[in-house]
């Protein structure tokens, strides 16, 4: 503990010496980081915004295009389709992924002895690269010789053609994403669960509350800030899904799994429509930003901070 007089002495010293000039040191410490974040995040963002008003194919000089890129995008049937696909993917992945993770986290929290082993198993897919995971799942989804339809045949289901079916390709991608991200969400939920003091449950038990009631009235409300955090980051990352699509379907069949980022990649690096792709990127950013802001705004109604 530092006593009052000492703190006062400290303050005096601060005024006196350049050795402890907080402002100078503060900027100095931040310098290496801020130079990088500025040059490789903020600056490119501004350029991307600017570029979205130009028509440019990298090789010939750029032409000012005004809002034409944006107008074209909203008339581009393919863009509207990939936008819908992205929403479908986000809506399919985020709530289900969080729900399943919550169930497993609550279950894990009760299995005190094996918790570490299970946690390691569930976390295994998280550390693997999406590329390897996507290739393995592509093989699992093989309609004739794949593992999944083999398992389904046990319970008398003739599995669909998965990745080559316009109807099932997107659900197939959603399953892979949930499988891969589950461990990550579970670990965050577990940390949240372990932060809830036991006394609440003890009190509830004494009052004769059922397990279901305890979950519904203690666990869920006290976990709401964790749930909120997971929702926000899952939405942000789901909007940017690319690797799985690129490896497993390349947007097919019939663009049924093409998502915004995939279409953006094709426009930028296959068709070299840099301005058009930038405009698409800005729309994606706007979409992510607005969804996140809506979540933050809605949070007041259901998230409880502190215990």
């Amino acid at each position: 503990m530092v006593t009052r007089p000492l703190r006062r002495k400290l303050k005096k010293r601060k005024v006196k010496g350049i050795a402890y000039n907080e402002v100078l040191w503060g900027y100095l410490f931040l310098l290496p980081n801020i130079v990088g974040v500025f040059s490789f995040i903020f600056f490119p963002l501004v350029i991307a915004l600017g570029l979205s008003f130009f028509k440019w194919d990298i090789l010939t000089p750029s032409v000012f295009f005004g809002l034409k890129n944006y107008i074209k995008i909203f008339q581009d049937i393919t863009f509207l389709k990939v936008f819908r696909n992205t929403i479908y993917y986000v809506a399919g992945t985020v709530p289900l992924g969080i729900f399943i993770a919550l169930i497993f986290a609550v279950a894990l929290n009760r299995a005190s002895r094996l918790i570490k082993l299970y946690r390691a198993i569930y976390f295994l897919p998280v550390v693997c690269s999406m590329i390897a995971v996507a290739i393995v799942w592509q093989w699992i989804y093989n309609p004739e010789f794949g593992f999944l339809n083999f398992v389904l045949s046990f319970i008398g289901i003739k599995g669909p053609k998965w990745l080559s079916s316009t109807q099932w390709a997107m659900p197939a991608l959603i399953i892979v994403s949930i499988w891969k991200g589950l461990g990550f969400n579970i670990v965050i939920f577990l940390a949240g669960l372990q932060g809830i003091p036991d006394v609440y449950y003890e009190a509830a038990r004494i009052d004769g509350a059922s397990a279901w009631n305890q979950f519904w009235r203690i666990t869920l409300p006290l976990l709401s800030s964790t749930t909120f955090f997971i929702t926000v980051i899952s939405v942000i990352s789901s909007f940017q899904i690319f690797d799985q699509v690129f490896i497993m379907t390349d947007g097919g069949p019939a663009r049924s799994t093409s998502v915004i980022v995939h279409y953006l990649y094709q426009n930028a690096f296959l068709y070299f429509k840099m301005g058009y792709a930038s405009a698409m990127g800005c729309i994606l950013f706007a979409a992510i930003l607005s969804v996140t802001l809506i979540q933050v705004w809605r949070a007041k109604t259901w998230v409880h901070y502190g215990i």
Partner: protein, 275 residues
């Protein structure tokens, strides 16, 4: 009451075991396929093992998937990026957590806002920048932008805030500069956080696919995920070879994970809980 508890416990364990099998099965499927011959793969119902375990598959892919070259490339990039981020993020985090200067809170808010920026929005300008530096198809294009991160700075700041102020007060009285405090008090006390950030950065860099896809062309410069993706594009039905390459590519990071499990968990909870 007792009976209910037993039912509950059994139910919990059934759920967990079912989940664990679901998590593990794809890995077993990958391993099992990687040891079969091409003919043994296309049979229904599938078998766990073929006639013999063909470890040869792993040797035969070396011309299509030169693992050691990719491994060294991935390693070089991931190690440099990790070292750079540990340095810049711990300095920046300390600045945000402990030093007062005009504009600090606004800058921090901007940092947080960058976490929402999709990589694909900024990748086109970064590509243009790299082209003008002549860095396309070099590892610089992956390393240099990777040395900084808003997320890492945020993570370190969160951890530094938990270090009691009393520790540095004593040092300040002795005339220690902020750099001295950072080096002698904060860094030694933040080993767990540094380890967590380090391991996370390493994992992200190691598994990154987008940046290598856009910036690298030459075979000898490819990273593991890019090499794997290219191989899949060329030999899309040679499942034993593809699975062998996949096994090789996930092996290093799984070994790192099993050795440093605690730090993975710590890294996640550190970023998650105090957000």
């Amino acid at each position: 009451m007792r009976k209910e508890q037993i039912y509950m416990r059994t139910f919990v364990h059934i759920i967990l075991a079912f989940g664990a099998i679901t998590m593990i099965a794809p890995f077993i499927w990958m391993l099992s396929t990687s040891l079969k011959s091409l003919n043994e793969v296309f049979v229904f119902p599938p078998t766990l093992f073929g006639e013999s375990l063909r470890w040869n598959n792993y040797l035969q892919i070396s011309d299509r998937f030169p693992f050691s070259i990719f491994f060294l490339n991935s390693m070089k990039i991931a190690v440099l990026v990790t070292a750079g981020q540990l340095f810049t993020c711990s300095l920046g985090g300390y600045s945000f957590a402990r030093l007062k200067f005009p504009g600090r809170d606004i800058i921090f808010l901007l940092y947080l806002a960058t976490l929402m920026i999709p990589y694909f929005v900024i990748v086109i300008p970064i590509f243009i920048m790299m082209r003008s530096f002549g860095w396309v198809d070099t590892h610089y294009a992956l390393i240099v932008p990777g040395l900084f991160s808003a997320f890492g700075t945020f993570l370190m700041k969160q951890f530094f805030l938990t270090i009691p102020r009393e520790l540095e007060d004593a040092a300040k009285i002795d005339g220690c500069t902020p750099f001295g405090i950072y080096r002698r008090i904060f860094l030694p006390l933040s080993k767990p956080a540094l380890a967590a950030l380090g391991i996370f950065t390493f994992m992200w860099s190691w598994n990154d696919f987008l940046a290598p896809l856009i910036f690298l062309n030459t075979i000898t410069k490819r990273t593991i995920p890019l090499g794997l993706a290219v191989m899949q594009g060329l030999y899309s039905t040679d499942w034993p070879s593809l699975m062998a390459a996949s096994v090789l590519s996930v092996m290093p990071i799984i070994i790192v994970f099993l050795c440093a499990q605690e730090f993975f968990v710590k890294g996640i909870t550190l970023s998650g809980l105090k957000a």
